[in-house]
């Protein structure tokens, strides 16, 4: 538990200039610019569906197994399938080695990602089953839950799981008093707020939303809009990646 607290404390405001006089961020981006993102579908052999995403320095692989019979039986829902997402940070994905196994942070993230995916998956089509979604963060640099969720929805599509829509996630936040898109690690650590958002892009309905930090209502509105715009850009990349996987390999 201490480990998590340490991370939370990292957020503490330190003296560090994150946006320069020209409005450029420490990696040269403008306020509304995403980090470079690459996505690839169908990267694993055993899984029923899979995807890999590189998002700035984040590297995440997602794998889907199922729908398959839920075990033990008493967890089965006779009316619909269950989406069981597991977000995991690999021990060497962070600067200070993380002890293997779930911690409180990853349990919470797994829960809200499961819920976000369940919003999109047509679970009524396969009662009594489970769809297991693994997200393995191989290298982390802030924004891993958004990267994981975005890859997970690609892996679901790759597995042929029926969905109302893809799910796509992106964060906005506040850094040096300014609302910006897609925080990287230093911005997350020394910034003032983080707002991860996931939507189903066709309807723009929000399926994941968290916030911590310090935002006025106006800043929140701006950040939410910015995050949704980011999601839409990522959605185009998702569609492209899915097209490549059908056409390509």
């Amino acid at each position: 538990m201490m480990d998590e607290v340490i991370k939370d404390f990292d957020r503490e405001k330190k003296e560090m200039k994150l946006i320069d006089e020209n409005g450029k961020r420490i990696d040269g981006r403008s306020a509304e610019e995403l980090r470079p993102v690459k996505m690839k579908v169908g990267v694993l052999n055993r899984a029923d569906g899979s995807a890999y995403i590189e998002w700035g320095k984040n590297k995440v692989v997602a794998a889907v197994y199922g729908p398959r019979e839920a075990q033990p039986r008493h967890i089965q829902n006779p009316l619909k399938g269950i989406v069981q997402a597991r977000y995991n940070m690999v021990s060497f994905s962070v600067t200070d080695r993380k002890r293997p196994g779930p911690d409180r942070r990853s349990i919470e993230i797994s829960k809200i990602i499961s819920e976000a995916l369940e919003a999109a998956v047509i679970t009524e089509s396969f009662p009594r089953t489970t769809i297991d979604v693994s997200m393995e963060v191989l290298q982390a640099d802030a924004g891993t839950r958004c990267a994981g969720l975005t890859a997970a929805s690609l892996a679901l599509a790759d597995a042929g799981v029926p969905m109302k829509d893809l799910v796509v996630a992106c964060a906005a936040g506040k850094v040096d008093g300014q609302v910006v898109l897609d925080l990287l690690k230093e911005e997350d650590n020394y910034g003032q707020a983080d707002l991860p958002v996931a939507i189903m892009p066709k309807s723009e309905e929000v399926v994941l939303l968290q916030m911590d930090g310090h935002l006025t209502q106006e800043e929140f509105d701006r950040a939410l809009s910015m995050a949704i715009e980011g999601c839409k850009k990522l959605y185009e990349m998702q569609k492209e990646a899915l097209k490549m996987s059908v056409g390509g390999e």
Binding site: M1, E118, L209
Partner: protein, 258 residues
């Protein structure tokens, strides 16, 4: 929470179509809120919250420990929640499950990001010794909307907590900077209900928790459940939460001062 809905889902929804909640409340009405502080003499601060029939006991314990290396001059906050089997037929014995962990972390986020505690004032000797604040949330009776009850209890317990005397340094009041207040809404079909009761939670599609501080700044949010929110719904809830959190803060202030 995986609860069997106690009353018929259709009944709740039919009433909502007529604009009515099953217990007669308005969509923005909070259930009766009672807060009693200082009941637990072994704790440095405590608050018993009754929100409708939901009852939660929050205790604050302090201990001296080393600071974290990256914040050598700050105290430490650790939040834990126990959904004990006494409080509900659906709560099981064992280590905290994902529901309990999310609950603890959402309450923690409101308190931490709301800068409720002035952690700098909990430094005893920089880099050597600081106060650790254990915020323990114990659910006694579960009738819906733990998140808000937990927040009200945590804030109330902290507002009335004392930092004990330590090596000649006198006891002092817990240094509180802000009072973040949480408002949780359930979405059922297209109805958005503040402070959902147990039966409402059991049929809800989605949940949104919004925490505002006394300067009307947003401090924390958490969306839950497998439904979704439209953007204008979020905007609406933001406004409603901003307004209601002020009302609730007044109730807390009043109860805590009694």
């Amino acid at each position: 929470m995986d609860i069997m809905s106690l009353v018929n889902k259709d009944f709740i929804k039919a009433r909502l179509k007529e604009g009515k909640r099953i217990d007669g409340r308005g969509f923005d009405d909070v259930r009766d809120l009672e807060i009693t502080t200082g009941l637990i003499g072994t704790a440095e601060g405590s608050a018993l919250v009754r929100l409708g029939n939901t009852r939660i006991l929050v205790g604050v314990k302090l201990a001296v420990d080393k600071p974290f290396p990256d914040t050598p001059d700050e105290g430490i906050l650790i939040t834990n929640a126990e959904l004990r089997p006494a409080a509900s037929p659906t709560f099981e014995q064992g280590p905290p499950n994902p529901e309990a962990i999310e609950f603890a972390r959402v309450v923690d986020r409101g308190i931490r990001e709301g800068q409720t505690i002035d952690l700098k004032k909990l430094c005893i000797a920089e880099g050597e010794k600081v106060w650790v604040v254990f915020l323990d949330i114990h659910v006694l009776d579960y009738d819906g909307n733990l998140f808000d009850a937990g927040n009200y209890g945590a804030v109330s317990a902290l507002l009335t907590a004392k930092v004990p005397e330590h090596e000649g340094r006198e006891s002092f009041d817990m240094p509180v900077l802000h009072t973040p207040v949480s408002c949780t809404f359930a979405k059922i079909d297209s109805s958005l209900l503040l402070d959902p009761g147990l039966e409402e939670e059991g049929v809800a599609d989605a949940r949104l928790t919004i925490v505002f501080d006394e300067e009307k700044n947003l401090r924390a949010m958490q969306k839950g459940l497998d439904g979704s929110f439209k953007r204008d719904e979020i905007k609406e809830l933001m406004d409603r939460a901003s307004r209601k959190s002020e009302e609730i803060r007044k109730i807390i202030d009043q109860k805590v001062k009694l």
